[in-house]
């Protein structure tokens, strides 16, 4: 018996074509069907190269639907069509016909209309480029790499068809094709291993790909001006698989600017967003591997689409039980959960809620007094939680904590701004947070800021990025949640953004000038009379400022280009601006974005609950970009208030928000929480005494503990910069580090005070539990820890041990 690495097996599943002729074992095998339905309901074939496939669903009497495409039999009703070996319907005569579909005694008939059966000339852009993408010639690891491979370079995933045509046809005087004998063309001998090829054998002489390329060469290697497709659609749009081993064949249809559509299922390239949940074959068949959520990611010729896939688990006897539903968020989350046959967790306890919401809103845990007051408050739980949220939103802690967050995102740091600048910028952010400035105004003010960087601190934003390209990259990642830095050197490999758009958008920032101000640690930021044009490296020509997508009613060229940019960016109908913000904020409270990572929004990174995201966006815009409103809306939902404890149906879910996701405390939260738990005063270098870590202006303060636990170094606008990874060095520090040692045994700390007050062992234990875990100990915990305090002999050592141990527990280290 040979064990193969799992990754290898999965990779095989993802790329090996599953033959359509071979029956696939699926959970549909033992199911009795009462009806077949076929998609599409009819086929219109426009010419001899227009081949299309059908997908067949078997319906059971209890209303379930299974994909039986691989097992169904397809027969042409007349000789106007044929069915090829991949199961595609191919026209042979221009007339009406039909496909007869049958399975186990059930039948269905799909009408087919053939408009023209003649095959048009092979087109480079429509026919040849997709083959090269499908077999991987132009992949980043092969000829699509920056340097090409073995002397032959193609554009990455075919984003530049003329470049590819030139490489194939014109390079080295036509080395790669042979018109006299097309079969002797290097571009056919290589993929068939007719000559040595490092990339291996890709298709044989009898394949459809071979025939396409051979015909194209025989027809003269023509380059036509046809355009690439404008969009692709995936069917079914939301596959639902009934259980492990169940399958679903996809159909991918591309639309071209001339109105033509094509079934490109065979040519599209597939990936899965979650290798553990589903595999997708190279022919577009999804296979369920375990219960959960995944997306089938599809790309074809610069277009990207995805289909969210749900795989149901053992659903025998599943019953949706009534659960609190406070508002629209809950309704939308529950709708998705019901479809996926998942029950959400119970609501968390009041004490759990208090700790969670305090840390989420202020970065700080509640004090023992606050815990006791909240838990013993006789008000109805939902009402008192809402009151607490309002109280926290109005607290100074909220201002400090969200100032820190925005400081991270805007990358405030003293390397670029000097110490005075960093404080000025922080105070400007603070002011905005404190007054709950509408988000669109905040961003507008930032982007259009001019003047002395001390007097108008918002202008510091430009001192951080400086170059138009850098500011643009930061701006798009933070305010649009997209990564334009990917299309700096080539078209975006996973999105529609082009390399040219990168420079065009940067053009809006080309008019920012810097001059010396009255003092060395300030600068004067101003709008240049004549912007320095941004140069597009491909052509070495300057490009005009242009938005990557147009919005109605925008003046694209205001006198100060930044005014136009801010208008466009913050527009109500900008499809990224509000959406990326609500998604980002959602992740701060629920542990994961509805689109995740939150700053990598693209077609190939679909939302797990698109309706929820759309509702949040619309609600946020309607509120006037009110950030406190958004936070209140999220945190007052039952969804936010669920326990982290899972049940049998939701234990594997970590994307549909059926339970709370424990999040490790961030560096600053952890530092402050330790000091608050230990009752020790905060004394950070470079800050006034009493200033907490969440109040620090930037990472320029040298605190090793904060670096160890991954505070944001503010060198990149990526949310991922704030590390929540877990390392051995962290564990050692928690077990044996100076920060905790000093805090726990601080002479004015909690333990010192408890001992001074001659507290009993039980009181000591209870006090420590309340301070560290923000809850009362259970009877069992109280009994055991009190005994430990008593029996150890030295009460001080015992109390410190207990506190130390609790600080090392997940209940403390995680916000959950």
């Amino acid at each position: 018996m040979t064990f193969r690495p799992i990754a290898v097996l999965l990779a095989c599943c993802a790329v090996l074509p599953l033959s359509a002729a071979e029956p696939v074992k699926s959970s549909a095998d033992d199911v009795k069907f009462v009806k077949l339905t076929v998609f599409p309901e009819r086929l219109d074939l426009s010419n001899g190269r227009d081949a299309r496939r059908l997908i067949v669903a078997g319906l059971t009497d209890d209303g379930r639907s299974f994909d039986v495409t691989a097992r169904a039999k397809f027969e042409p009703k007349s000789n106007a069509i044929t069915i090829d070996k991949d199961g595609y319907v191919v026209p042979s005569k221009a007339t009406e016909s039909a496909v007869l579909v049958s399975l186990g005694g059930l039948t269905a008939e799909v009408p087919v209309a053939v408009k023209d059966a003649a095959a048009p000339a092979v087109q480079f852009i429509r026919d040849i480029e997709p083959v090269m993408a499908k077999v991987g010639c132009n992949a980043g690891t092969c000829h699509g790499s920056q340097q090409g491979k073995a002397g032959f370079k193609l554009s990455l995933r075919g984003y530049d068809p003329l470049f590819d045509y030139t490489a194939l046809v014109d390079d080295v005087s036509g080395r790669r094709f042979n018109r006299a004998v097309p079969e002797q063309s290097l571009m056919l001998l290589k993929p068939t291993s007719g000559v040595p090829h490092e990339g291996g054998f890709l298709f044989d002489e009898d394949s459809r790909y071979y025939a396409l390329i051979r015909d194209w060469i025989a027809e003269g290697c023509r380059y036509e001006t046809a355009e690439r497709p404008t969009k692709i659609e995936v069917f079914p749009p939301r596959p639902l698989l009934n259980g492990v081993d169940d399958v679903q064949q996809l159909i991918v249809v591309a639309s071209y600017p001339d109105g033509m559509t094509r079934d490109v299922t065979r040519e599209a390239v597939y990936e899965t967003s979650n290798l553990e949940v589903t595999a997708v074959s190279s022919t577009g068949q999804i296979k369920a591997l375990r219960k959960g959520e995944a997306a089938a990611l599809v790309r074809f010729e610069g277009n990207y689409a995805s289909a969210p896939v749900s795989v149901l688990g053992e659903t025998e006897g599943f019953e949706w039980l009534p659960t609190p539903e406070y508002g629209e968020i809950d309704r939308l989350v529950h709708a998705k959960l019901q479809r996926s046959k998942i029950l959400p967790s119970e609501l968390c306890s009041d004490a759990e809620f208090l700790r969670r919401v305090s840390i989420d809103l202020t970065g700080l845990p509640p004090t023992p007094e606050q815990v006791q007051a909240f838990v013993s408050d006789p008000q109805e739980s939902r009402a008192k939680r809402e009151a607490k949220i309002d109280e926290l939103l109005a607290s100074p802690g909220y201002v400090d904590y969200w100032t820190l967050k925005w400081g991270d995102l805007l990358m405030a740091n003293r390397k670029d701004l000097q110490e005075r600048g960093v404080w000025a910028f922080r105070n400007w952010i603070r002011e905005s947070v404190a007054t709950n400035q509408p988000y669109d105004e905040f961003v507008s003010e930032l982007l259009t800021a001019s003047g002395n960087s001390i007097e108008n601190p918002a202008a510091n934003y430009y001192r951080i990025g400086r170059e138009p390209e850098t500011v643009m990259e930061n701006m798009t990642q933070v305010f649009l949640g997209t990564r334009f830095n990917c299309n700096k050197c080539h078209d975006h490999p996973f999105e529609r953004w082009t390399q040219r758009q990168y420079y065009e958008l940067a053009g809006y920032l080309s008019g920012v000038g810097f001059a010396k101000a009255d003092r060395p640690d300030a600068e004067y930021v101003f709008a240049l009379d004549k912007p320095k044009p941004v140069v597009f490296p491909q052509t070495n020509q300057p490009v005009d400022a242009k938005f990557p997508f147009e919005l109605a009613g925008m003046s694209p060229t205001d006198e100060d280009l930044r005014v136009s940019l801010a208008e466009w960016l913050t527009a109500h109908d900008n499809p990224y601006f509000a959406r990326s913000l609500v998604n980002r904020y959602w992740s701060y409270f629920l542990g994961k974005g509805i689109i995740d990572p939150v700053d990598d929004i693209r077609a190939s990174n679909p939302a797990t609950n698109p309706e929820l995201l759309a509702w949040l966006e619309q609600d946020f815009v309607a509120s006037g970009f009110d950030l406190k409103h958004l936070i209140r809306t999220i945190t007052t939902s039952a969804t936010y208030q669920r326990s982290y404890r899972t049940n049998a149906s939701n234990e594997t879910d970590d994307v549909l928000f059926s339970h709370s996701l424990p999040r490790r405390l961030t560096a600053e939260q952890l530092y402050d929480s330790i000091l608050i738990a230990a009752g020790a005063p905060s004394n950070l270098p470079g800050l006034p005494p009493g200033f907490r870590a969440t109040q620090s202006p930037d990472p320029g303060l040298n605190v090793e503990f904060l670096d160890l636990f991954g505070r944001a170094p503010r060198e990149s606008p990526c949310e991922c910069e704030r590390s929540s990874e877990v390392s051995l060095a962290q564990t050692l520090n928690l077990v044996n580090g100076e920060t905790i040692a000093a805090a726990v045994s601080h002479p004015e700390g909690r333990i010192a005070k408890l001992l001074a007050s001659k507290a009993s062992a039980e009181e000591i234990a209870r006090g420590i539990y309340l301070a560290v875990l923000c809850r009362e100990p259970t009877d069992d915990e109280l009994e055991k820890s009190a005994r430990y305090v008593t029996e150890t002999g030295d009460t001080k050592i015992a109390a410190e041990d207990l506190m130390w141990a609790l600080i090392n527990s997940p209940a403390f280290l995680f916000n959950r």
Binding site: T2, F3, R4, P5, I6, G151, L162, Y165, T166, V169, D170, V172, S173, G174, R175, R176, F177, N178, R179, A180, V181, E183, Q184, L186, L189, K190, T192, S193, G194, V195, P196, H197, F201, D204, E205, A218, G220, Y223, R664, E725, V726, S727, L728, Q730, T731, L734, V735, N736, A741, K784, Y788, D801, L802, W804, A805, N808, S809, P810, L813, F814
Partner: protein
């Protein structure tokens, strides 16, 4: 050191650690190897190592090794193999052992290649060559053209009587003013190389060198006897096609570039390698000898023109600037300006340039001291250029992949003399890959992607004749 109480049982690391699945790999249990493929595995070895001598145009030992059927037939020493029995097969006997008989005057085949061929024989010596790719072309089975082949090389004979044109698997020798009405060439020199990338007549006009090979299979130099039209000699070099061709002025040496980034200087008497030159980092596309024949100049897709000592193959200098940023795309074409220690070069930037071969000033970072002048750039990339016999004018051809252009310049003044166009001033219809200047100075030839040769009056720049150098099938000709 602080002791931590034992009831800290759940530590933070437990959350962070991933449990990795245990696995092992058992090599011995691997699936049985695929049978050896003649077409995909054996044939490339034969092409590279054996077919230089054992080809239809040479037939050493009456044995041809370019196709399965010929291999099976064997030669004067009998059949090549007993299917299933490697030990009693001639083919294996000749190439294995301590001091194998074949290849003659060359290194033995690598042991793994011999083992692979032996295994193929053992497995039944089956032919899996797809019918569509069988290459059976030879002198008795000339190529049939359903479409005109791309022209990659053109050259006039020194006496201006002949025009040699590259074809598929052959060189088409035409009268200097093109064929008569029947379109037939003077001779078809059918060789082993599918691709002829460069042509050059020896200074005395007795020999026509055809350089080429098959991409990713082998490179070849063919020496044809111009009077008898017979292949005098063939030599195989390396695993890919060769590029460029130049005879030294004294006729002693012949130089070629290659797709393996190597230039070679061969002795013309027997085509044996005199020296090799490996300082380039990309295809070496053009070569030319200096006026005194003591240096070779090579140009490459790596953007450089390099100077090499003929005697020992030593690298002397980069002739063009090598400052990063100053280089603009690869160099494709080079030719000595007759009568001068100067070269004309052309490449991807479309700008023909004239350079001194030898440096007269010490190199300074960023310099380009050897450059004499640049000519008005053509749109697209230059693929070929050729001077007239006295070095006063040159013709140059370029491609934008979708179209082409050719021009004649005056070397001294740098002036553009003629933009070569079709009748009624229409631009050339296709990329230009090859040009030639007739030694008598009266005519230039231009050809490329579309497979047609166009002859222009060198004095007026007007189109004199247009013809397909390859005999087309009637259907193709009608199109």
């Amino acid at each position: 050191m602080r002791l931590v109480p034992i009831f800290v049982c759940v530590s933070i690391t437990a959350v962070g650690l991933l449990t990795l699945p245990a696995f092992s790999q058992d090599e011995g249990d691997a699936a049985p190897a695929e049978p050896v493929s003649f077409y995909r595995q054996v044939r490339p070895i034969l092409q590279r190592q054996c077919a230089g001598c054992h080809q239809p145009a040479k037939q050493g030992g009456k044995l041809v090794l370019t196709s399965y059927d010929d291999l099976k037939k064997g030669g004067e020493n009998g059949v090549s193999f007993e299917a299933g029995d490697a030990d009693s097969s001639n083919l294996i006997a000749y190439i294995s052992g301590e001091d194998p008989e074949m290849p003659k005057n060359a290194d033995p085949l690598p042991a793994e290649d011999v083992a692979l061929i032996a295994r193929w024989v053992k497995e039944g010596a089956k032919d899996d060559t797809p019918a569509s790719v069988k290459d059976t072309i030879g002198p008795s089975n000339p190529p049939i053209y359903h479409a005109p082949p791309v022209v990659t090389a053109l050259r006039y004979s020194p006496d201006s009587s002949l025009l040699a044109v590259s074809g598929f698997h052959e060189v088409l020798l035409h009268q200097t003013d093109g064929p008569d009405a029947d379109g037939a060439p003077v001779a078809r020199l059918i060789g082993r190389s599918q691709r002829v990338t460069a042509l050059e007549f020896s200074p005395d006009g007795a020999t026509l060198a055809a350089v080429g090979g098959a991409p990713a299979l082998f490179g070849e130099v063919q020496f044809w006897d111009v009077s008898t039209k017979e292949l005098r000699q063939s030599a195989t070099f390396g695993p890919d096609t060769l590029f460029g061709a130049a005879f030294s002025g004294d006729g002693k040496y012949f130089a070629v570039g290659s797709a393996e980034n190597r230039a070679r200087i061969l002795k013309t008497e027997d085509l044996s390698q005199h020296v090799k030159f490996d300082a380039h980092s990309d295809y070496v596309l053009g070569v030319t000898f200096s006026l005194k024949n003591d240096h070779l100049i090579t140009v490459s897709r790596d953007m450089t023109a390099k100077l090499v000592v003929v005697e020992n193959g030593q690298f002397v200098d980069n002739i063009t600037s090598i400052t990063p940023g100053a280089l603009k795309g690869g160099l494709t074409a080079v030719q000595l300006r007759p009568g001068q220690e100067q070269i004309l070069i052309g490449g991807s930037d479309g700008e023909p340039k004239l350079y001194k071969i030898f440096r007269e000033q010490a190199r300074v970072i960023g310099d380009d001291f050897n450059k004499i002048r640049a000519f008005q750039p053509l749109e697209g990339r230059i693929f070929d250029l050729r001077s007239n016999a006295d070095g006063t004018k040159f013709v140059v051809g370029a491609s934008t992949a979708l179209g082409g252009a050719a021009r004649i310049y005056d070397v001294e003044s740098g002036n553009l003399l003629h933009e070569l166009k079709l009748a009624e001033g229409k631009p050339l219809p296709a990329p230009v890959y090859a040009v030639a200047f007739r030694p008598d100075g009266k005519q230039v030839a231009v050809a490329g992607f579309d497979g047609y040769v166009r002859l222009f009056d060198a004095e007026t720049g007007t189109l004199a004749k247009e013809f397909s150098p390859a005999p087309l099938t009637p259907q193709t000709a009608a199109k």
